[in-house]
Symmetry: D2
Subunit: 327 residues, 4 copies
């Protein structure tokens, strides 16, 4: 239940907090009070009379616009992530070497990216595949971002690594395979660092919002959601199915910015540009894309990496569509 208070707001909030103390979870957002698992008849008559009460609330209550109507704006040192800009996060799939990430950071920057991506801890399907450079990779990534005046986004794979990754990153990435790793979600929820939460391969919209709610429930609402393709029956020509409609659907339901990741959605570099265009046309607040100067030698996910020149054209087109949409 959400109670939208009309007057005596701070008094009524206090009253509600006392009423439910030790019994129900009470969440406050300006003049809105959410009480988890409570119903209208649990409220004093005077609050029932003076407030607007929403009874059918989603489980992910803090992640709902019913509780938080305004857009949540995320600010990192060099980036504002909201619905008024198109931000670019780019970089190689994995941090491969100091030299390579420095080179890729410069390319990313040239295409307008303000956030540098790169994996140091890699969730690979096979245990025998390259697992990332670990902390060394984080150091290289941080250095490359700093040299180019960029922010860092990188994946954290388990709760134990949260403090380590926190030392180097501006944004935690939670990967699709960990979207329901609740221990990890709780751990990043206790930090003040923004989180880029990727939709799981078979996660419904509600599953994604409930995962975000785990982070929010810890006190951290600096969340952005990433649509990166879902698993469907058709996977011959694309690795996943890019669920482009999820972008406006999420924007209606939740205050968090929504980012499109066309690279993972299709898994083929030659489709990344049209999918990036589609994502921006559908209203995405940002793009996360993988780039590589020599995709055939990439240590991971080479087939979906854009070469520098294709990347630069892609970002130009994407920004042009964004500008057009804003008119």
């Amino acid at each position: 239940m959400i109670i939208i208070l009309k007057n005596d707001i701070s008094q009524n909030i206090t009253k509600l907090q006392k009423l439910f103390a030790g019994k129900k979870q009470v969440l406050v957002q300006q003049n809105r009070v959410a009480v988890v698992g409570a119903a209208k008849q649990d409220l004093p008559a005077e609050i029932q009379a003076a407030a607007q009460i929403i009874e059918n609330t989603p489980a992910a209550i803090q992640s709902s616009r019913l509780f938080h109507p305004e857009d949540i704006v995320i600010r990192t040192p060099h980036t504002v992530i909201d619905n008024n800009h198109l931000i670019i996060m780019a970089g190689p799939c994995s941090v491969e070497s100091r030299e390579h990430i420095l080179k890729m950071a410069a390319v990313a920057k040239q295409g307008g990216a303000t956030v540098l991506r790169g994996g140091a801890f890699k969730p690979r399907t096979s245990p025998y595949s390259f697992q990332g450079l670990g902390e060394t990779g984080l150091k290289y990534l941080r250095e490359a971002a700093d040299l180019n005046g960029m922010d860092v986004v990188t994946e954290v794979m388990d709760d134990e690594h949260v403090p380590l990754v926190a030392k180097y990153t501006d944004i935690f990435q939670i990967g699709a395979r960990n979207m329901q790793n609740f221990s990890l979600l709780k751990a990043v929820g206790k930090t003040k660092i923004p989180v880029a939460l990727k939709r799981g391969m078979s996660a419904t919209i509600d599953d994604l919002l409930n995962a975000a709610e785990y982070i929010a429930a810890g006190g951290n609402q600096q969340i952005m959601l990433i649509e990166r393709g879902i698993r469907t029956f058709d996977n011959k020509y694309t690795r996943n199915t890019f669920d482009v409609a999820a972008i406006p659907v999420l924007q209606q339901l939740t205050p968090y910015p929504v980012i499109a990741d066309p690279s993972h959605a299709v898994g083929r570099w030659d489709l990344v540009t049209p999918m990036a265009a589609a994502g921006v046309a559908a209203g995405a607040a940002g793009l996360m894309v993988e780039i590589h100067d020599d995709p055939k030698r990439a240590l991971s996910d080479g087939p979906q990496a854009l070469k520098p020149d294709t990347y630069l054209k892609m970002t130009q087109q994407a920004q042009a569509i964004r500008t057009l949409m804003a008119d």
Copy 2:
């Protein structure tokens, strides 16, 4: 196997036709000869030497760019459907009355549509739902299109109705539920009328191309393919999942123009505009959209119909994106 002849083309074609007569199906497209189910060693040495031979061909051989490299351009009286324009097909889900379709045709036209859509034979999930006006509906639809200088696209549901529908339409529509109604595909394949083939709800890209091949095998390659959403695990907020990546994938594989149908893809009018934008950004050659002046009273699919003013804004935006993409 496809044989790309380099010289003595007409002679060699004759030679190949004789060689395989009564044994294998031989298809000819300019200097390309497809022989269904044959292999290189079945060919005379001199042809093996003088031609380029492609052995790994898809089952839908005529629908492949390997056999037909150039775009297929479809011309109806008022429309050219190809990859150089964005064409609009609009109209109500069902023809509801003479008055109504006349009104809707004028709206469709105002938004730049050159093709009027409307169902007279309706494939409804329940037998107790409105099944369409039948031939009367076709007459109204034809009249409304003619009065506005537009073409007609309308669904034909079975092979028996092909001659009747042919009297009134410029383009046959094959619905998603009939995508593998092979009797129907064969029947429209024997006509000279263009066919708009909708992708089935769980049809892979290859299934769609094989369905198109049934039409082509009858001698009719005036085919356009319509992406209209596929069935996935996530259907709470959208009726289907709009597989926007199918648009560039199909354009690579096949010479047929690809149309996006955002109305059926999402099933909600408020998402049609962003999905139309996404489809155009991904490269669609056209849009098929449902419009209605009073969606709540629509006899079918009201929730996904655009009202006239939303439709007009949508088409403006779509054309602007198309123009941007063409630059």
Copy 3:
């Protein structure tokens, strides 16, 4: 709405038929009256008072146990299809020749099959694949069944062929790809011949019941439903995913017998026996399986055909499980 009349049944039925004549569709089943699209307040007070009224009815109202609580029993000359037996339908995918179907019929019979299956009109993914022997195939199939004292089930692919196929078959089969070919469903619904309706590859339980309703709405409730696997993300090791839970789910919802088709569900002969066992253990009223004495030379679907000896063992095991379950 379904009205369960308690007294003055025939009088009240007449009253209800008059009341809704020309306005709503009225269906009668013993003391139950379904009125499509009507609500309780549309009824006279005395009927409201004297009857039990079910307001939340599924769209497929005649196919629901709410309207038809008892099992529907289907009787063909040599077979009773109901929930008290395990019946076997077996035969080759396609009728290949007179000699072959005679041979296969004897094998089928030996394994306890009372219904001989075989396709004369084949819905093939590619137009260049074998399309069946047509009426000649039907003749061979009928002869083979008659010689062995068996019934015939064979696919009818379009409404035009219904009268032709009706001359030879005891049971119409509607294939998965035609499950929503509404013209065909209406055509078989007007006959008195039992129909074996296969679930479409991406058909929900409700879609299947609505398809059955098209047949029932024409006056034919001699329907059996066939679970034959659905399309999911996982198709590397099996062609489809056998939705074994659909068997008890359908038995709860609908009075029609439910048959399992393990051959199409998995597409691999070596998994047919465990899947047949699973289907029987889950409560199937019958099995439809494909057999072939030389699967490598089968004109269609060879990889899923059981050889005679495997078939005989499979049916023994299936009957043993059935007997066990019945205790």
Copy 4:
């Protein structure tokens, strides 16, 4: 590549280990040597000559019968898990109280279960749902199992908790949502405790085997795989789709025992019995089922819990089918 040595086995193993030391991962299983990422030409001629070499090996090489042809048998104090028995794991979804788990353990035992299940750390979709009793729950669970001469299986949700859970359990359960939590898989792979790995909701067979490989790669091959339903387009009547064919498919591919979890597969208690029967008929080595004496008051997953009497009938039927299958 897998090398099956025919003679001089220990010598050749040493030779191969030296050859690839520091370059490729070498795994040994009796006379089989797997070299990850190597090809035939990397081998000395004399080994090429004297051994059988399998070049097309799956990524999950240790989890393949190509590398480990014999069944892996798992022995816990009171249970032998292999393909010659049907073992039962039963208990409530969550450990709710000391009293309750004692009561449920007695019921589980009565139905022939030798393994007691119960969650102390619960992966719940919503952060506001009951999250489990933690270590207290583990203590109650251990006590209840010990009092009844049973083993314990319980979920571990993250790598940090592995040592804690190890103190109380005989088998680690990895939940579906954590199937690709690679940090967790690595952590349990370093223990000697058996692992029950649940298939992820959208995990392919290969994904599941690769997840198992992470555990095996750490040195722990005491793995059992649990089929618990996958996510598909049809979820109105069942929570997931029970992929019963996965049971024989996995048994062919991998040496690990395969367990069926009908409770999670369907999410409805009234379908658990037929699905358990189907799973056993398909060849499952065991069943994992949820039981509760008062499902409406269960702290989690009440709708899928069997009441004691239904559970006892279910296990009798399952054992009877198992006995029949073994004949």
